[in-house]
C-alpha cells in the first residue's frame, strides 16, 4: 500500500501490514480480517470446519488438538453469544480457556489495552481472542504481542468480525455449494456493521457473482461502492433474483443519532417479510448473525420460516472457530478430524 503518488525526491516507507496475518510460511498466524487473505486460506478454514462439524455429535465432544495451549478470551465489549462459542470451540479442542471481561470504561481504553495484554502475555498465553469497541484494536494488539502469540479478532468496532463472516460463508457453502453463481444481498446497518464488512470481503474473495447492500443512505458508508458491492436503497430492486439474503441487526440507539425516524418506517421499507421475499429466487437462503429483532429487521415468519438457516449459523460457529484456532495453533497444522 503506498500513501498515493508521493513526490519523487522523498521516499516514504509504505505502511504494510497486509501480511501481518500470515507467518513466514504463508500460514495463518493472526486472524484479523478476511481482507487480503487468499481464497485458499478461506477455503481451508471451511474445509477444516467441515471435518470438525461431527465432533459435536460424539458422546465425548472433544479432540486433543490444542492440549496444553492457553487461550484468553479478552472482551472489552460485552457479548455472551460470541464469547460462548469461542469458549466452547477452545474447550472442544482441549485448550485451557480463560475469559476476561474488561468493563467498558474510560480506563479500559488506550494504554490499558496494552497493559492488559502485557500482563496476560507474561502468563504464557498462546492466543488472544479479542473484542473491542474501537476499529483497529485487533491490529493494534497483533502488532504489540510477542511473535509466538496469535490474535483472533472477535469484533473490532465497525471494522471486522472475520469468524462470523467465515461461519456465514461455511453455512452458505453447505447449502449452495458453489459461490461463483451466487448473488448475495446484505440488508441493514452497513455503516456500523463489522459483520457486513467482513462478509463482503469474504464473498468477493470466494468469487461470489454479485454482492449487494440494501439500506437507507444514513446507514451506508460514505463510499459504500469502495467495499466492492452494488448499492440499493430499496428491497424491491435489491432483492431481485438473489440467492442469499443476509440481514443485519439494527441497534436501537440509531433512532437517537438521527439516522432513522422509527422502527416502524424501517420495517416498512427495509424489513424482510414473506411478501418481500417473493422478489428473490425461490430457493433463497435467509441468514442473520443474531440476535434478531423480530418485527424490526424481519418478520417472525421469515426468521423462523423454511428458508432461514439462523440456527445452523449458530451451530456452525463453533466448528468454524475450532478450525481457525487449529489452523493457527495446531502442532503440524494438519487436522485429524474427529477421533
Amino acid at each position: 500500500m503506498s500513501s498515493s503518488d508521493q513526490t519523487a525526491s522523498t521516499s516514504f516507507n509504505a505502511p504494510d501490514c497486509s501480511q501481518i496475518q500470515l507467518n513466514e510460511h504463508g500460514r495463518l498466524h493472526h486472524f484479523l480480517t478476511p481482507q487480503n487473505l487468499s481464497k485458499d486460506i478461506l477455503t481451508e478454514i471451511m474445509d477444516v470446519a467441515e471435518s470438525f462439524s461431527s465432533v459435536a455429535n460424539q458422546a465425548v465432544k472433544k479432540v486433543p488438538v490444542l492440549r496444553g495451549k492457553t487461550i484468553v478470551n479478552l472482551f472489552f465489549e460485552n457479548s455472551t453469544r460470541t464469547r460462548t462459542t469461542f469458549e466452547l470451540a477452545a474447550k472442544r479442542l482441549s485448550a485451557d480457556v480463560i475469559n476476561i471481561n474488561v468493563a467498558t470504561s474510560a480506563a479500559s481504553k488506550g494504554e490499558s489495552v496494552l497493559d492488559t495484554i502485557r500482563t496476560l502475555e507474561a502468563m504464557q498465553v498462546d492466543m488472544f481472542v479479542v473484542r473491542h469497541a474501537d476499529s483497529g484494536t485487533a491490529h493494534f494488539i497483533a502488532r504489540n504481542v510477542a511473535p509466538h502469540v496469535s490474535v483472533i479478532n472477535a469484533g473490532d468496532g465497525s471494522h471486522a468480525h472475520p469468524t462470523q463472516a467465515m461461519l456465514d460463508m461455511f453455512t452458505i457453502r453447505r447449502v449452495k455449494k458453489d459461490f461463483s453463481k451466487l448473488k448475495v444481498a446484505i440488508i441493514g446497518d452497513i455503516l456500523h456493521s463489522r459483520v457486513a464488512r467482513s462478509e463482503i470481503h469474504a464473498l468477493n474473495i470466494l468469487g461470489a457473482k454479485e454482492v449487494r447492500v440494501i439500506a437507507p443512505n444514513t446507514l451506508l458508508p460514505i463510499d459504500a461502492k469502495a467495499l466492492g458491492v452494488t448499492v440499493f436503497n430499496d428491497l424491491e430492486s435489491g432483492l431481485d433474483d438473489v440467492d442469499v439474503v443476509i440481514m443485519l441487526r439494527l441497534q436501537r440507539e440509531r433512532m437517537h443519532g438521527a439516522l432513522l425516524p422509527s422502527e416502524n418506517e424501517y420495517f416498512d421499507r427495509f424489513g424482510l417479510t414473506e411478501e418481500k421475499l417473493a422478489y428473490t429466487k425461490s430457493d433463497v437462503t435467509v441468514m442473520h448473525p443474531g440476535p434478531i429483532n423480530r418485527g424490526v429487521e424481519m418478520a417472525a415468519s421469515v426468521a423462523d420460516g423454511p428458508n432461514s438457516v439462523v440456527l445452523q449459523q449458530v451451530t456452525n460457529g463453533i466448528a468454524v472457530r475450532m478450525a481457525v484456532m487449529t489452523l493457527i495453533l495446531g502442532q503440524n497444522r494438519q487436522v485429524v478430524g474427529a477421533e
Partner: protein, 423 residues
Amino acid sequence: MNILIKNGRVIDPRNGLDTVQDVYIADGKIQSIGKVPKGFTAKKTIDAKNKVLAPGFIDLNTRLREPGFEFKATIASETKAAAAAGFTHICCLPDTMPVIDTPAVANLIQDKAQAAGFSKVLPIGALTVDLQGEILTEAYALQQAGCVALSQAPNTIAPHTLRRALQYASTFGMLVVLKAEDAAIRDDGCIHAGEISSRLGLQGIPASAETVAVAQIIALADETGARVHLTGISTAKAVSMLARAQKDGIKISADAHAHQMHLTDKAVETFDANYHVSPPLRSTSDKKALIKGLEKGVIQISSGHEPHEAEAKQAPFPSTQAGISSLETALPLTLGLVAAKSLTLSQAISRLSFGPAEILGIDAGHLSIGAEANLCIFDADETWKVNQQNWLSRGLNTPFMGDKMTGRVTHTLIDGKVVYEQG
C-alpha cells in the same frame, strides 16, 4: 559579531532576488549583499557554496506544549527543533495549561523562549477566557504582551460569540487565527470520510465539517471586517471558497500543514496511529487542490506541529491522540513539491517565510538591506534519513521515521547570531 556568508544562492521572494552573492551581517542586521561594506571584517565566515540562503521560515501553527504539558514537549526542546528546521519565528497556539489568556502566560512563554535562545516565539493569545467560548479575553492587553493574533485553537465557539469576538479583535486590528471545523459534524470522526473510512469502519470526518465552518467564517469576516486566518485547511472545496472570498476582497488568509500536501487517507489503511492527525489526511484530489492553492498563493504552509509522548499513540487508532510532530519535515516535504515541479523554489520559500509574515503583519521573512538577520541556509539536495538520533523534537510521533528526506538546513541565524549549525 560580523558574519560573512559566502557563495550562497540568495533567494528572497519579496525582493525578487535569486542570485549567488556574499551576504554581510553586522550588528544583527543584513548590512550588504554582494558589495563588501567599508571596514567589514568577518569574525565568522560560512561557506554556503551550492546551498540556498533564504529568509528564516515562519510557522503559523506550532504546539510547544509548555506550560502544562511538559511530558509531551517543552519550549526549549521544540524551539531547538524549530531552529534546526530553519524556522526563525514560530507562532504557538494558546491551548496550553494554563491557557494563554493573560499577559502573564504570554510573557512566561516568551521569556522561556528567549532563555532557550533558539527560534523566536510569537504567542497566539486565546480568543476567549480559558478557550471556553464565552467571555472575551483582553485583546489589547494580550497584543501589548506580544501576542500576534488571537485564536480559539480547536475549541468550539458559538457563531454569535465568534461574531462578537471578531468585531472586538478588529478594534485593535488584531488577526484572528481559526481552525475551520464544525465539531458537531466532525463528531467522533478520526479519519477522512471516504473510501478508507468506509472500508475500515472508522468513523469518518466529512469534508463538510470543514466547508460548513469555512462558509460561516467567511461570512463573519466579510461582515465584521476582521482579519481572519484559517490554519490547517484540508479540502479542495475550502481552497476554492477561499480563493473566491479573497477575490471578493474579504480579509481572509489560510494555510495547510506541510504533510497534507504529501499524505492521503490511504496511509491510514494499516491503522498506524502516527497517521492520526487533525484535520485528517484527505483524498488525493484534496491533496492536489491544496498544492494548486499553494502555487496560486491562496494558501501558505504551516507545520501544524503537535508533539506527543509515546503513550499518546499506543492504543487502538480511534483512541489515540491526533497529531504529527512535523517541524523537522516541513522543509524537505515542501522541497518535494519543488522537485515535482508543483512549485518553484522561490514560491516554496515564500510560502514558508514572507507569506506567513505578511499574514501576521510583522516585518520579517525577507532579506532586505538593514533587516534583522533572520535567515537559514539549506542544502536542497542533501538526503538524510529520519531517525531517533537526528530528531530533535521531543515528540517522536512522525510517520516519516526511517524515511528518506531530501533537503536539509545547515545553518540558522537569528538576529545575526548562529543558533543552529549542522553538526
